[in-house]
């Protein structure tokens, strides 16, 4: 369950944890946008490195690395597919430029994963729900969202139990070819879904018996307020976004291949 661990919130105090979730979300979304508008490796590398101080400030290095490790497999797939397509479309040749662009696209994916990982690692589901509510999302939706997030670790644990139960009945998850392996997971997925549905019905009953939704106008125990740190992050976010758009439109970005002056003398792979 390493991927889930890389997203699981733990309550600790740090300058990043105490930031307003709305501002943090705006920051993550702008990193997302910037990662999407660039396809060159240099700005993406910059974005990648940019997350590191946040991670260090928030003291979540270990979990953050775990989420990256969890994303490693998909990253490799993205890289291979990109190099592969280039190989077939550009006349059966792998050029340094091809590899660079494939690496850039992989890095884009990694940047997206790492920024979301930092966000979820440092934002409690309660704060997230509060942020949604204060952004005028109806309370029912905000509640459904936070509940869903909160139940992820529960489901992860449950899926482990189910896997154990089925292994005890002779199921070998790793046996067989690719398709067989996927089919092996049916006996795990069905109980997981059924019990999730059952749990949600029980939760609904329990909530209604505790008068959920009795008052239309709710007040909250905690109220979100922007502090100095939040304004600083907001400034960084806006600055980044403006700079990124400016660079994207007016500044030509060199590739590393270009910088190193590697001639495009295509080293062709022998067939």
């Amino acid at each position: 369950m390493s991927v889930f661990d890389g997203l699981k919130f733990r309550k600790i105090h740090s300058p990043i944890h105490d930031l307003d979730p709305r501002v943090k979300f705006a920051y993550v979304i702008s990193v997302f946008v910037i990662a999407i508008i660039f396809y060159q490796i240099i700005p993406l590398l910059f974005l990648f490195v940019l997350q590191v101080p946040f991670v260090l400030l928030a003291h979540v290095q270990r979990q953050w690395l775990r989420s990256l490790r969890g994303a490693a497999f998909l990253a490799v797939v993205i890289f291979v597919v990109n190099v592969g397509t280039d190989y077939f479309t550009s006349g059966y040749a792998v050029t340094a430029a091809n590899i660079e662009s494939a690496a850039a696209l992989t890095l884009r994916f990694v940047v997206l994963v790492e920024s979301f990982s930092v966000f979820f690692l440092t934002t409690s589901p309660d704060h997230l729900g509060l942020a949604l509510e204060e952004s005028r999302v109806p309370y029912e939706f905000a509640f459904a969202f936070t509940t869903a997030v909160r139940f992820v670790p529960v489901l992860a644990e449950e899926s482990q139990t189910i896997m154990d139960a089925q292994k005890a009945r002779g199921l070998e998850l790793e046996k067989g070819g690719f398709l067989k392996k996927i089919r092996n997971y049916i006996p795990v997925l069905i109980p997981l879904i059924v019990s999730a549905i059952r749990r949600s019905l029980e939760l609904a009953e329990a909530m209604e018996s505790r008068a959920w939704g009795a008052t239309k106008k709710r007040t909250n125990l905690y109220v979100l307020k922007l502090h100095r740190g939040d304004y600083a992050l907001l400034a960084i976010t806006v600055g980044l976004l403006v700079a990124a758009v400016y660079v994207r439109i007016y500044v030509p970005i060199p590739t590393i291949v270009h910088l190193l002056k590697i001639k495009n003398s295509a080293f062709t792979i022998g067939i």
Binding site: T161, I162, D164, K167, A168, R169, L171, E172, P191, R198
Partner: protein, 275 residues
């Protein structure tokens, strides 16, 4: 025979659930592992079919160390029924549910058919053969889960909290069933904190606390020892409590069986009347 030698186990989150547990479960034995929540009972029995491997120490089943083989291979001899049947039911019909493990173990189709019929019959589920397991009641689902394990006739049967959510009648059926397995020479291990159930069955009892075995012995001894039980937050069976309170009348203290209790009381009454 299952032999655990100085088993330590640490979960990935660094919680040390077992701190040096040694135990031998002989063939044909009936054993109850008891203890409060979090004592490490379930963690310990998950070592018996290799679902968990010891961090240090070793567990061997019939001489084969669990680290040297697969869960599927061990499961052929060690059946494990989980606490919550909803963690394993997934098939469209009860029949398919029971056939699942048999197919995994590579039984021939005609043998599968035969075994399914046998298991359905054994647990009074024949009428539900074509029913979806999800439409059954809690107790029935628990029986389907049990049937799906018994179907391949394992030598050892591990039942994790078999009495939770069962009414008295179902518990009685389960008890008789365990007795029946005993007569066939099967090994039965139950994990439970249902003292009354254990008192009725009278197996060998192992008490666990905080990842260690704190006491073991025959049920009559362990379940009537208030000091040992208090340490594991277990209350004496009701019959034992009564006899404990009546001990100044000169009655024996270590009674957990209802028939034995009846006999002693009647005897006492008789001697009183004859005086």
């Amino acid at each position: 025979m299952i032999v655990a030698e100085d088993v330590h186990f640490c979960y990935p989150n660094k919680v040390e659930a077992l701190k040096g547990v040694s135990l031998t479960v002989k063939n044909g034995e009936f054993l109850a592992i008891m203890g409060q929540n979090g004592a490490g009972k379930s963690t310990f029995v998950k070592h018996f079919n290799g679902l968990l491997k010891p961090t240090s120490g070793k567990v061997s089943v019939d001489g084969v160390e669990t680290t040297k083989t697969s869960v599927a291979a061990l499961a052929r001899n060690v059946g494990f029924v989980f606490q919550n049947p909803d963690h394993q039911l997934f098939s469209e019909t009860v029949e398919e549910e029971i056939a699942f493990a048999l197919k995994n173990f590579g039984f021939k189709p005609e043998v599968v058919e035969e075994r399914v019929t046998w298991a359905l019959n054994l647990l009074a589920l024949t009428q539900y053969r074509k029913t979806s397991p999800f439409l059954l009641s809690g107790g029935e689902r628990k029986r389907v889960a049990l049937a799906s394990v018994l179907a391949w006739d394992p030598q050892v049967l591990i039942l994790d909290e078999p009495t939770i959510g069962q009414d008295h009648e179902q518990k009685e059926i389960l008890r008789q069933f365990i007795v029946q397995l005993q007569t066939q020479g099967k090994t039965v291990v139950i994990v439970t904190h249902d003292v009354e159930f254990v008192a009725e069955c009278n197996p060998r009892v192992v008490l666990m606390k905080e990842g260690k075995i704190v006491a073991e012995g025959i049920g009559k001894e362990i379940l009537t020892n208030p000091d040992v039980l208090a340490e594991s937050s277990i209350v004496l069976p009701q019959i034992a409590q009564i006899f404990m309170k009546l001990s100044q009348l000169g009655l024996p203290k270590n009674i957990i069986d209802i028939y034995e209790a009846e006999k002693i009381i009647l005897n006492a009454e008789e001697t009183k009347q004859s005086k």
